[in-house]
Amino acid sequence: MRKIFLFMLLCMSLAITQVFAQTKTVTGKVADESGSPLAGATISAVGGRGNATTNAAGEFSLTLSPKIQEVEVSYVGFANQRLTVTGQATLDIKLSRNNSSLSEVVVTGYQTLRRSEVTGSVAKVSGSELAQKPIGSFTQLLQGKATGLQATGQSGRPGANANIRIRGAGSINASSEPLIIVDGFAVSETAYNMLNANDIEDINVLKDAAASSIYGSRAANGVLVITTKKGKAGKPELRYSFQHGRSKAQELKNLKLMNGAEKLQYEYELGYTNPLIASKIQAEITAGRLPAGTTIKNLPEAQRTTFWNDLISTGAGDWSTYLLQNGNTTTHELSVSGADDKFKYYLSGNMNNNDGILYGSFWNRKTGRLNVEYAATDWFRLGTNLSVSHTKENFVRELNNTQNLYAAIYRFNPYEPVFTSDGKYNNTFQGYSPIEGTINNPDERQRISTFSSIYGEIRAFNHLTLKSQLGANYNTLKRESYSKPGSNLANILGYNSKTDQGNQDLLYTFTNTANWRQTIGENHSINILAGQEFTKDKFYSYLLTGRGLPSASFTTLENAGTPTAASTSRSEWALISYFANATYDFRKKYFLNLSGRQDGSSRFGANNRFANFWAVGTSWDITKENFFKVKQINNLRLKASIGTAGNFNIGNYDALGTYALSNKYFDLPAATPFRLPNPDLTWEENKNFDIGLEFAVLNSRITGSVDYYNRKTQNLLYPVNVSAATGFSSYVGNVGSLRNRGFEISLSGDVVRTKTLRWNVSVNYSNNDNKILELYSDNAATANSGSLNRLKVGEIANTYYLVKWAGINPANGKNQFYNIDGTITEKYSSGQSQLFPGKSPLVKYFGSIGTDLSYKSFDLSAQFYYSGGNYIMNYMYQIGANDGETKNIPQFTDVFNYWKKPGDQAYFANPLDASQNVTFDTDKYLEKGDYITLRDVTLGYTMDNKTVARLKYIKGLRIYAQGTNLWLSTKFRGLPEVGESNRESTSLVVPGAVTLYAYPQIKALTFGVDVKF
């Protein structure tokens, strides 16, 4: 393949001929749909030099080299349009507003195509939909923006990414995240939140094979192609934006924690003497005022009331007051952009300070970007896209204990005081104060990421473009974590310690493509792309620790009494790829697209290094047919595609059976079995079928699309279980196949469309039906960790597998369970676990409802997001509401509904019956995750052109206020947007399966100003 490609390059380069210089002039007028002239629209040559701007009457004149065959017309808020210019011409151009996407350009893979040329399913999210939001990672901002794209925030931690699923979870264990390409090169997942969303021009979501298979082995779960902003022709634009907001944690829905009095009452009913009461009783016994052996149950009532009142008056009450904080977000951004016939440039700087809502947490980011393109000659362009970001984060612990501030809210009783009598933070019954921990055990993480590419482009023979690009995403982490001398943790552990840790991750991609584009006669257009790519990732990390620092003011390890760890490690992967894409159309009516890619990866077994991927796509523009005479319909296009893509998201060396040498015994190196070999390990492959219809009616007043897809994943990468008797639990293998299929519908309509008032309503809906089709052996029947979820042929992936709860026996107040045979028992037995068909953590439907209203200079928009069909194991509810097992920590008021006497129909068992004081995983705590939220609401004022014209220095002004997650409706007990269980409980790997004190999602109000100079 490589040789053929080289030969092709060679032939083409030898055949290059000289071009004679000549010019032609194009004039014309640019207007909107209603015919009003558009002043300041840009007309630029495609594939060469020359551009012009329209005057107040919308007129322009442009001189071009004769080889220029196309010009592109652009105006902010309207879709770009490309027009063919042959010879001298006068053009009458009508631009349509952005929402009618007929003529926009789409960046798919390695080239830019007109919308009409795209046969695959591609959703485009415009940068303006993502700009100026108080959420750090653009991945979370994608929620609800496109059909088939499900974005679930991993948590509400500032800078947290979203789990993104394009057309369902196509993988089980290998990551189901899409590949993310920024300006033509792949970036690491760690770098997603290092991108400034305001720099994004647009994101193209490649959903089906026709669109994505050119990315081959990494495209199985879709591809997000991000293009950052370029300078636009016209006068330089200087823009300043300011934004300030306040955020709070979302409150749990449908749940209320007991207050101090309620909790003490509950404890009393259960006969539980808490340690504070116990020490009060002990003091009275010691003083001789109470008899020995007094407990809460036989304490005189007056005394008990006194104790209770004491506790309530000194108690913290609502611990969230102390463990949470109001988050402030502040953003400043300055950008300059512009273009002339040689240079295009875009320069931006952004500073974003983001306090989290857990006490002491923050995430501050600074980004800078410079995108420059220089047309050196008629035939040679070169450019660079360069961005550098820095973040500084105070990492607060996130795990299932009181080191996690958020978990502490559900661990610290309301009657426990915040401070001890000597003014220190109270460690509470749990023995640890996370507030003190946040202050005295800071964990500061700084990251620097660069996204840089340099490219050169040669145009020859009118039709050929050769492009070479070297893109690199370089990410570093520097972490300093300090358990300060004198801190509570240092006292518990018996030593203070400092950890300096970090890593460097270089992911680079070298891409070479040749693109031949030609229209032959009137009827035939071809567009052929061939290319080759090399991708490599190099990861290096270090870890240094020391103990015994003399005092908290010394923060570097040179001051440590005992160095305890000095460790470095490395790992690498590489990918070699060849690819090609060909598009043919007949009279812009019938389109055919073929693409193929060969990838070779270092990650797979020696027997399966290389794999091929392909796709075929077609589309039919029905409105171009002579028989089609419906005037009201101005776009009707049918598309279909089929093809394959792969997934290589597994560990770097998973095919190799190895012994590790990194373990020690008696501080000496030791060799320990690390992994079982699997030389047959091969690619997970996705076969994707898509059929879709796009339409626009009534002068594009109503637009929409309907898509159906069927995605089949084969050779699922998953740990293959082995008997524990082998000394291993599993190895990575290919275990079966699954299918995702569903419908996607999107509709948008202008309800009112006048000169001053515009009201648009849009709805999108996606559903996804996931099913395991085949498991090659029973070895994959259980999840590798935990036993909540199972894989079973015919069921949804990760269907819950639990003992079924049969309620409380009204006669004796004991829990009852169903045996598999349907009989009811009071004995819990893990062997009686059963599958819950249809209930899995996977979302079955989701979408958004949006409305945009603009009247003169004011605009109001709202976006609701809904999602449902998934089930969540609600551990947060289980820990706070059970049959007396956790009576020592805060409980939800629900538990008062416990069995008290025969005949009671209670939800909780008799907590006085010790046999019931134990909580089992049953479907009692398995809850539906349906919800709808007001994701975003914005009210803005944009100064109109007339007023702007009167101002001397200002060319534009916008003021706005926006609310994020202001309203949420759900029947789920808690917060239904569940991503990760929490950042540190990494063994619970199935996203969305359990709630376990992840950083809560925020609600926020922000205010912003945008000024153009």
Partner: protein, 483 residues
């Protein structure tokens, strides 16, 4: 023509970046398994790997092994001020979904031994080969014996149909073994240990300082473990022989002076085998299983059961070595300080004692008694007590008949308390767990009492359930009765 040169440059770069060998990438910290047993050095690394496995297992010597048998039995009671850890065991509530992890933990260690045994025949006959084989056999046998103690009936209580885990001897990743009869299993353990005792070096030094002579198996410690297994089998002559081999002519079990130093790793007196926990390993589980020091006070998870605390008299050196009575939040508790840690080192980081000569001495004393050699039994008992009680006068400490056995077993409980022995020992002797339902966790016996106080002899809960995941996966394998 600059154009040409650009094109050629591009083509050249493209060609240079695409060698297939770029895909041959190997890890920096691993060796392929097939290349892991070529030299003696490889074997030495793999031997240390076995001990690293014991050190690394959350259900074994770096985990809850030093407390679980005491929590399951009647040596400890939960403190209401603790984190409510291990309640599953204290309240006998384990299920297949929440059970003791030694099943996979044990096989992980055994596999390391099996890999050595499968490869050792590549090496020429001699001391190196014999010792490596002996060490691997010993590690495997001890681990399997402990797995069997957790999950299955003991030899003397097992009938012909009672089964235990499979005695796996290969590293084949495709096996799905069932179970095997308890008695045959014990015979394999004993055969391996017996062979190990003949092959292994009398000394296997490792590292330096405390622990350098006893942090790997040697002849004495293999015999010590053998005496333990034979006691469970009821082969008392065998116990005496193995104990003699382990103890030598003058048993060193730690004196009144050195005994307290054993627990802070200042002395190795009487420790036949320990698993080294270095300050850099920083495994503090042994200590935190019992307590953490919070705000200057001991905040215990479990405290000494009231009646047991009374058994330690003030002249007993074990009392001050094992127990500290102190207040937390104004309430006095008998806290277990056996794993407090080494002086000036991280709290709770201390070597795990696998077998001590004091236990071997008690094994022998019991074996002597049960074979009618009461004089020898009494002598062993007195040797122990002389080294534990200040002012002990052997001549006046006389026991006969049943009282002698009772005192041997009482001393066994006092000596091995909080060391992972009690529950298995009750199971061996087919006794119930009888907890005092009238006593709470406070030092004076008040406070919160046991939720569940009795586990009848032979109850199915004496044999912990196997992990449900193995039963789901491995159709040859079945759950213990009752679960």
């Amino acid at each position: 023509m600059r154009k040409y040169s650009y094109l050629y440059l591009t083509a050249l770069l493209a060609a240079a970046s695409c060698k297939k060998t770029e895909l041959d990438l190997f890890p920096y910290n691993q060796v392929e398994t097939t290349q892991s047993f070529n030299t003696e050095q490889d074997i030495n690394l793999a031997i240390l790997g076995m001990y690293q496995g014991i050190r690394n297992s959350g259900s074994y010597y770096s985990g809850t092994w030093n407390i679980v048998a005491d929590v399951l039995a009647d040596n400890l009671i939960i403190s209401q001020q603790g984190r409510q850890t291990l309640k599953t065991y204290g309240e006998w509530r384990y299920t297949g979904n929440a059970t003791y992890g030694l099943f996979s933990g044990g096989y992980t260690i055994a596999r390391r031994a099996n890999a050595i045994l499968e490869n050792i025949d590549k090496f020429s006959a001699g001391t190196f080969k014999d010792n490596a084989k002996g060490e691997a056999l010993a590690v495997r046998a001890m681990t399997y014996f402990d797995m069997s103690r957790v999950y299955s009936k003991t030899y003397q209580n097992a009938g012909p149909t009672d089964s235990t885990v499979s005695y796996v001897t290969s590293t084949d990743p495709k096996i799905t073994p069932g179970k095997e009869p308890v008695k045959g299993f014990y015979d394999k353990v004993i055969a391996d240990l017996t062979q190990a005792a003949t092959l292994i070096n009398s000394s296997n030094p490792v590292g330096s300082g405390i622990g350098s002579t006893n942090s790997r198996f040697n002849k004495a410690s293999v015999n010590g473990i053998l005496s333990r297994v034979l006691l469970y089998k009821g082969d008392y002559e065998g116990v005496i022989n193995a104990a003699n081999a382990a103890l030598g002519t003058t048993p060193s079990i730690g004196t009144l002076t050195t005994f307290p130093q054993i627990w802070t790793d200042a002395s190795d007196a009487g420790v036949l085998l320990k698993i080294k926990m270095t300050s850099i390993d920083n495994v503090n589980t042994l200590g935190t299983n019992y307590y953490q020091t919070v705000s200057g006070g001991i905040k215990s998870e479990y405290v000494v059961e009231y009646n047991l605390a009374q058994e330690y008299t003030s002249t007993d050196i074990r009392k001050s070595s094992y127990i500290q009575t102190s207040a937390f939040n104004g309430i006095m508790y008998n806290n277990v300080i056996k794993y407090a840690g080494r002086a000036g080192q991280p709290a709770g980081v201390v070597d795990a004692k696998v077998i001590r000569s004091a236990e071997v001495l008690l094994n022998r004393a019991e074996a002597y008694y049960r074979t009618g050699k009461t004089t020898e039994a009494l002598a062993d008992l007195r040797t122990l007590k002389l080294n534990r009680y200040t002012g002990y006068v052997a001549a006046t400490d006389i026991y006969a008949g049943e009282a002698l056995l009772t005192e041997i077993l009482r001393q066994r409980r006092l000596e091995l308390a909080f060391e992972g022995d009690r529950f298995w020992d009750l199971k061996r002797r087919n006794l119930p767990v009888m907890r005092d339902a009238t006593k709470g966790e406070n030092a004076d016996g008040s406070g919160t009492k046991y939720v569940f106080s009795t586990l009848p002899a032979g109850d199915y809960k004496f044999n912990l359930p196997f992990p449900q995941s193995e039963i789901n996966f491995n159709s040859n394998f079945t759950q213990n009765p009752g679960y």
